[in-house]
């Protein structure tokens, strides 16, 4: 009996901490979502779940616009990062002199503070003195900044995110390539397959589980953390052109002080993420079992 309680002894402090910093806030979030909580007007309060839900999901298009912005950004960055990451991983998979020397430099962006990354790109895109504006000036375009145009602000954010997170894909996909067994490649070579056929018909299918894990991890992370660089590059603007769900939840709560609306947006993100995490877990568990 005592022996069966042992693992609990090791786990209980962590579980207590985790429960208090997740379950308690979650319950509090549900409270926020179902009441009227306006920081600047503490007199207003009371149960209003259906009103709140209607306000966020039905009465204004803002939530769905932010959802669309988020989806566009996530799909765009994950696709680009995957394609670029796969290409770079393939090159780093081949042997050349200086490979191990230059590889760490390709990983640098991933470790930088996202806020600083956003800052760098904000200034690179700056219409007055930014490096990119300087190049445009050379071809006759004055004071142009893509971050100031609603139609192109997202492009700027995508570039910054791709710059920071392509190294993540490179790192994971390269690790995946290195873990592949040798013999299928040798057999294909004996059969006279060319490099592209080997890549398409042997390497990619064998890497499928790792590709799925890498893409899912990046998707979850992009969905969650599309905040820091946007906050600093555009703060969701111009207008609401780059307001993702995370930025919307933040602005509702801390710019307009409608805590209940922020909580509803945040909780809706939680639901979506929970589903994605469940799928991810199935793939990780599947790999461990194999």
């Amino acid at each position: 009996m005592l022996r069966r309680l042992r693992p609990l002894l090791f786990l209980s402090p962590t579980l207590l901490i985790l429960l208090s910093i997740t379950l308690f806030p979650l319950v509090y979030s549900l409270y926020l979502a179902s009441h009227t909580v306006i920081l600047t007007n503490p007199m207003l309060s009371g149960w209003s779940l259906t009103d709140n839900l209607r306000e966020v999901f039905i009465e204004s298009p803002e939530y769905w616009e932010s959802m669309l912005t988020t989806l566009i950004l996530v799909v765009a960055v994950v696709t680009l990062e995957f394609v670029l990451g796969l290409m770079l991983a393939y090159f780093f998979f081949s042997n050349f002199r200086g490979r191990n020397l230059i590889f760490p430099f390709f990983l640098m962006p991933m470790m930088l503070t996202p806020v600083v990354v956003g800052t760098i790109w904000r200034f690179l895109f700056n219409g007055e003195f930014g490096l990119i504006a300087g190049l445009l000036k050379a071809v006759g375009v004055e004071n142009y900044s893509i971050l100031n145009q609603p139609s192109t602000a997202l492009v700027g954010i995508v570039i910054a995110d791709v710059w920071q997170w392509t190294p993540f894909m490179l790192l994971l996909l390269l690790a995946g390539m290195r873990a592949l067994p040798r013999s299928p490649f040798e057999a294909a070579q004996v059969d006279g397959a060319n490099a592209f056929q080997i890549f398409r018909d042997i390497m990619l299918p064998m890497m499928k589980p790792i590709i799925i894990i890498a893409v899912l991890m990046r998707t979850i992370d992009a969905f969650n953390r599309m905040f820091d660089i946007i906050y600093i590059m555009t703060n969701g603007g111009p207008g609401r052109a780059s307001e993702t769900l995370a930025v919307m939840a933040f602005r509702q709560s801390f710019e307009y002080f409608f805590m209940h609306q922020g909580a509803i947006v945040a909780l809706s993100m939680l639901v979506i993420i929970t589903i994605m995490v469940k799928i991810l877990n199935r793939f990780i568990a599947g790999r461990k079992g194999a």
């Binding site: 962590t14 979030s29 800052t119 710059w163 991890m217 939680l270």
Partner: protein, 276 residues
């Protein structure tokens, strides 16, 4: 692999050189801008990398803003949260790695999923709760908040690392008369030391770079450096050289640390989902 054609190597080197330039240029741009005067920022594209460097921007930000205090805050909160999470997380990981009990995998999954939840979901209620507990704008509060992502990371990573150490090592020590805790301390911990070191580096980097919690939960006393960066911008857009200097102060230590953690990069970034 197979010998590659000439064309392959031309394409390979060409794309690596292009992408390498794309990767390095923004970092270099940050670095050179931090050594310029405000006037030099406007000197045009030809002068981007050709100018007389000065430390004026660094001097200015350290004199006019409490950079040192914010840097200390960032360090204390990062190390504090890392030590706290490592201590409890490693103990919990031992329980998950060494015992088989009903619901263990579900429990491990619950702990992992906390790491993947949107931070904004936790940030809103934590703000309200800290407001009630007078924990807003304190380093203690921020350390607690950072535990939400560091503790699950430690548990998940260390479980994998402990599982990789054969249990026979501890059992042999216990047969020789050592207590269970004695065996863990004398046998297991020394073996795990490099793993603990790697996990610690990742926790410190994650905390060091954190922005959302720090933005919401601190004002002045416990403010960390990442939160100060946007203030430099709203302060005056033309102060790019000052922002760059502050940015350099923030990222330089991270770059050093990340080279130290190089060997563990895959495991740390994929949380062990992909073995390196």
């Amino acid at each position: 692999m197979s010998p590659k054609s000439r064309l392959y190597w031309i394409v390979c080197y060409g794309i690596l050189a292009l992408y390498g330039a794309f990767t390095l240029l923004p970092i270099l741009y940050l670095a050179v801008s931090s050594f310029k005067t405000q006037q030099q920022i406007y000197d045009g594209i030809a002068a981007t990398f050709w100018f007389t460097p000065t430390l004026d921007s660094y001097r200015f930000i350290f004199e006019t803003k409490p950079i040192l205090q914010m840097l200390t805050n960032t360090l204390i909160v990062s190390v504090g949260s890392t030590v706290f999470s490592l201590f409890f997380g490693t103990i919990a990981a031992y329980g998950l790695a060494r015992y088989n009990f009903r619901g263990r995998d579900d429990l491990a999954f619950y702990i992992l999923s906390i790491r993947m939840f949107p931070p904004i979901v936790a940030a809103l209620p934590i703000f309200m709760i800290f407001n009630g507990l007078n924990l807003l704008d304190t380093k203690t509060g921020l350390i607690i908040a950072y535990t939400t992502f560091n503790l699950p990371f430690v548990v998940w990573m260390m479980t994998g690392f402990i599982k990789a150490v054969p249990v026979q090592l501890e059992e042999a020590a216990m047969v020789d008369g050592q207590s269970h805790l004695g065996a863990i301390w004398d046998i297991l911990v020394p073996v795990l030391r490099p793993s603990i070191f790697a996990v610690a580096i990742f926790c410190i980097i994650f905390s060091w770079n954190e922005f959302l919690f720090a933005l919401i939960l601190t004002k002045s006393q416990a403010k960390t450096l990442p939160v100060a960066i946007p203030e430099f911008i709203t302060w005056t857009e033309v102060g790019w050289n000052y922002v760059a200097a502050a940015g350099m102060v923030l990222v330089a230590p991270v770059l050093v640390f990340s080279f130290l953690a190089q060997r563990y990069m895959v495991r740390g970034m994929s949380m062990g989902a992909i073995k390196d």
